[in-house]
Amino acid sequence: MEIRQIQEVLEAQMIVGEDSLDKDVHSACGSDMMSDVLAYVKDQAVLLTGLVNAQVIRTAQMMDMICVVFVRSKQPTADMVELAQEAGITLMSTKKRMYEACGLLYASGLGNGAGA
């Protein structure tokens, strides 16, 4: 799935990384605990989260993720946008809640990368 489709499925607002919309991603994960993302995630390219602080971007960067979606209309701070820009990470924000956002993406064919 292209990042563009994620934006469409979630009716998300683009924040930064418009130029990466045609990048291909194969799996995603959702969590508000960066500890868990660092411990359990493997090769997921997209992070859905309701957490807003700079460590969300650094965690994504350390895990080589390329897109972060903020749920429940959360908006990243200017610092976070700058960090994401430097790291080449696309940011977007959706009104949908975590459960629905994950469900919609999963139903559209974006799995969690397990047993694929």
Partner: protein, 141 residues
């Protein structure tokens, strides 16, 4: 014949949660420039990032030294924090003394130390109560 090891030093500010992880980001860039494999880079990045966050959350900051030689990347994290009273307990998944405010920042699941061990080929913790902690991790190339 053998090339000299490359050494990098970073100070990790303990007063600023926002800047935690900056050293790990820089190391990631440096390793990429050195042409290290993506797998090794990711393992080093995650292990060092967890360690850096720990120094900020639990020890009021510290220092990070990264040594790259022909065979491995070695990360040495040194702090002058409270020390770890029971290392075996701290190494258990889920054990955390992090306060609620840390948890609301997305950390404090007690996964960092076991994660650091899992992602590296060797890890050693030396800790003195009231004096500090030194964690040495090695990822083989």
């Amino acid at each position: 014949m053998s090339e000299e090891a490359l050494r990098f030093h970073f100070d990790v500010d303990g007063d600023d949660f926002t800047s935690a992880g900056q050293a790990s980001v820089q190391v990631k860039k440096l390793l990429r420039e050195l042409g290290v494999s993506t797998d090794v880079i990711r393992r080093v990045s995650i292990a060092m990032y967890e360690g850096e966050i720990n120094m900020v959350i639990h020890a009021g900051g510290g220092k990070a030294d990264v040594i790259v030689d022909e065979t491995a990347v070695t990360i040495v994290l040194t702090d002058e924090g409270p020390g770890i009273p029971n290392i075996a307990q701290a190494m258990q998944e889920g054990y955390s003394t992090a306060p609620d405010n840390v948890r609301s920042l997305g950390f404090g699941a007690g996964m960092g130390l076991p994660n650091m061990k899992r992602y590296t080929d060797h890890m050693e913790i030396e800790s003195q109560l009231g004096q500090g902690t030194v964690i040495t991790m090695r990822v083989d190339l």
